[in-house]
């Protein structure tokens, strides 16, 4: 126990996980730049573009978490398709709610 060589995991999965983490972290930090682009250093300002980009970026992150962290990439095709469908469903519901709210009010 604990004496197995580290190389047994393989460097490729570790590197891949690290790259995914870097990408997800970069998108997270990108949010700050996105908000600054519309607010500057002043009061928060409404922006449909920022809202839409934020939601789409969140969905991209969710899909990466499903596929890479939750290992759906190696799961049966049904689970792959189901999680993809879920991401689309979440996106449609969130964007639909936002634009419906704007249209109604």
């Amino acid at each position: 126990m604990g004496t197995e060589p580290e190389a047994a995991i393989g460097t490729e999965p570790k590197r891949r996980a690290l790259l995914v983490w870097l990408l997800l972290s970069a998108i997270t930090l990108g949010y700050l730049a996105l908000d600054w682009s519309v607010d500057g250093h002043g009061a928060y300002r409404a922006s449909t573009v920022v809202t839409t980009v934020a939601i789409v970026a969140a969905l991209v992150k969710v899909r990466f978490i499903f596929r890479e962290f939750m290992r759906v990439r190696n799961a049966p095709v049904l689970l792959c398709r189901l999680t993809d469908l879920w991401v689309l469903l979440i996106g449609a519901a969130l964007l639909g709610s936002y634009f419906a709210g704007m249209a109604v009010h």
């Binding site: 300002r45 920022v50 809202t51 290992r71």
Partner: protein, 211 residues
């Protein structure tokens, strides 16, 4: 056949890999559901439930965006970003825990799951810090519509995080003894922890980032 060997069996089309040994037999791995299928039902249900909460929030936000923006400005985008990075990093370590456990590297798996838990505690600390800061500034659950959604969503997520700590406890319990170790349970616990991360990614985007 030990529990862990049985759990690893679906990974290869041929014979199950021995603990700490590279898989024998055919090189192309079989596709298996990570963890127990029941957990995936829960994950997909939770994702839909949170989507409903967030959809209602967005709908009402669009109706009174100026008021929501004013309240949103009271949040700290930096704390929200740090929270997100903490959970993403915890997910990375949880994945490494699963990889190490699968490779039979129990000590590495244990280290990774402990780091995951510590990052979860750090997230919890950041969240409580923000709640206290907001409460001291006079913002509470009933202050206005934005803060009702804010405290409701972050509060429900907080509960999920606490359940996540229970799964980490189960994971540590599993890893401590070889005879009771089950790779399937390890992966089930990991799937739950990643769900906590996934839900926060959505909450962070909609509470802190949208304009």
């Amino acid at each position: 056949m030990t529990e862990i060997a049985r759990a690893e069996q679906p990974e290869t089309a041929g014979q199950p890999a021995a603990v700490g040994q590279p898989p024998a037999g055919e090189s192309k791995p079989a596709r298996v559901v990570p963890g127990q299928p029941d957990m995936w039902v829960l994950v997909l249900f939770e994702a839909l439930a949170f989507t409903a909460y967030l959809g209602v929030y967005l709908y009402h936000r669009a109706a009174d965006n100026a008021s929501f923006l004013q309240s949103q400005a009271q949040l700290s985008p930096w704390l929200g970003t740090i929270d997100t990075l903490l959970l993403l990093t915890s997910s990375l370590f949880m994945l490494r825990c699963v990889q190490a456990s699968r490779a039979g590297q129990v000590r590495a798996a244990m280290v990774n799951v402990v780091v995951t838990g510590l990052l979860g505690v750090a997230f919890l600390g950041c969240k409580v810090t923000e709640w206290v800061r907001l409460a001291r500034a006079g913002h509470g659950f009933t202050s206005n519509e934005f803060f009702t959604y804010y405290f409701f969503l972050t509060g429900i997520h907080f509960l999920h995080l606490l359940i996540g700590f229970v799964t980490i406890g189960v994971l540590v319990y599993q890893l401590r003894r070889r005879e009771r170790r089950s790779q399937e349970i390890v992966e089930t616990c990991a799937v739950y922890w990643h769900t906590v991360d996934l839900l926060w990614v959505l909450i962070f985007s909609l509470l802190y980032v949208v304009r």
